[in-house]
Amino acid sequence: MSVRSIFGRVVTRLFQFALALLLPQLAMAHELQPGFLQLTETAPHQYEVLWKQPTSLGNPLRLTPVFPVTCQALNAPQSEVLPQSWVWRMRLSCPAGLAGQILTIEGLEAFATDVLIRVEHGDGRIETHLLKPADPSVTLNEAAGVHGRWTYLTLGIEHIALGIDHLLFVLGLLLIVGNRWTLIKTITSFTVAHSITLAIATLASVHVPAAPLNAAIALSILFLAPEVVRVWRGQTSLTIRKPWLVAFAFGLLHGFGFASGLAALGLPRNEIAPALLLFNIGVEIGQLGFVFLVIGLERSFRVLKIHWPRWAEMLPAYTLGTLGAFWTIQRVTLMILR
């Protein structure tokens, strides 16, 4: 055994070790469960409050909405525990109205999550705000409604930026496709497929249980890893000859995954279509950005004439395989334990 291949092995082992250290963080990163606060004006200056407090592994995150000082509660809050959130309802009277008042989510600074705030005014106007840890309060404004709708676009981009499993799947596809035309077909069929299921899941309220879904998404990544190795060895398979088939089939799965990100917000009926569209566009923006990044880097490597050593060439396939396997085992275990 040559020194070079020993070095290669050491690097691969070190890499696996580093991955094992990072994995818990990566696994957490995907669980983007935003909070949702809705105020509906039922009578002049009277509001129905719906507060979906996100939970992590069954424990509610310590997030508390702080309403404007001029508002008073009309009844004691009632709570209900759902699988992914803790729902609170109460009625609020705000004699001074809500315009220009400040709404704060206390404790948001401490968590890596967002809270979506949605106010339905008595005259049908709707305003939406997305609060982030860096800026946990918002001044409610009469005129902010139109601008607020773009928050769904931001949410879509964020969902893909933090959805490392989705990005890894796209990376796997990119490693398999050979030429530009196949690339376009593959990415398009992935996009079409996940848009279909995202729309079905959201519009028809088809609910796919989260645990098996996440396990299946992890499995889709694990599935791609040996295919990448096959490409590298010059072998062929159905996946390599027709990657768009695989992209479409698994794209349907990933679409349900995207839908869970949107569904956690509990969208109201009359706003579903634009929200869905913007969220989907956001997801595509993020995904295309990632595709261009990978292609740009690959081109640059070719210009710079880099000859990667064997272990470095295998690294992406190992990453896909290791993470795919880890996530599959982790998610299946969680499913059984629950």
Binding site: P133, A161, V303, L304, K305
Partner: protein, 193 residues
């Protein structure tokens, strides 16, 4: 990327960005918005591209490594030390002039320059971020952004500079602009101090 840049609120002094996507993404944002530190690095990457494929490869591998070492070192040094503000403009002037004159450096000299500039730049950022709680993750994010740039910029310059003669001139003009901005920044430092 542009969309993200456009909507980000910028705290003017510290350049600390909150993308809402965690410290790694915050680090990436910080890197792209710290223009005065970015300027000498861009000039160096361009210089690498002008020096050919082997030099470009050197930029890609050595620059991020040197930067990361400097960055981690900077965050370990006690808070209170600062890298003088004229370091970045001086490096921008030096490297910008090299780009403008299309300087062809021997391999060893180039490696030395990459090491010095990279670690000095990393040190500046590391010290600037030392007070942040997530500083190591911020530095890691910045280093990731640097890796991407240090791969893409030399490759772009190589493609541009070897395709048409006027493109090479355009790259050199960019170098003189960077040196010019560095000179003005230096004058600005003198003026406000």
């Amino acid at each position: 990327m542009l969309v993200v840049l456009g909507v980000l609120p910028l705290p003017s002094a510290a350049h600390l960005v909150s993308t809402g996507l965690g410290p790694i993404y915050d680090g990436i944002g910080h890197f792209f918005l710290s223009l005065e530190d970015l300027l000498p690095l861009l000039a160096l990457m361009t210089l690498g591209g002008l020096n050919g494929v082997a030099a470009g490869r050197r930029i890609m591998f050595v620059l991020p490594s040197a930067w990361l070492i400097g960055g981690i070192l900077g965050s370990l040094i006690a808070v209170g030390t600062i890298v003088p503000a004229y370091v970045a403009p001086l490096m921008a002037i030096m490297l910008g002039v090299m780009v403008a004159t299309d300087a062809q450096l021997p391999e060893r000299v180039l490696t030395g320059v990459i090491g010095i500039v990279g670690s000095a730049s990393g040190l500046t950022t590391g010290i600037a971020l030392a007070t942040q709680t997530n500083n190591l993750q911020l530095i890691l994010g910045s280093a990731i952004a640097l890796c991407v740039l240090a791969t893409a910029v030399p490759a772009l310059v190589i493609v541009a500079a070897t395709s048409r003669p006027w493109m090479r001139i355009a790259v050199r003009v960019l170098g003189s602009w960077i040196a010019g901005v560095g000179l003005l920044m230096l004058g600005w430092q003198v003026r406000i101090s």
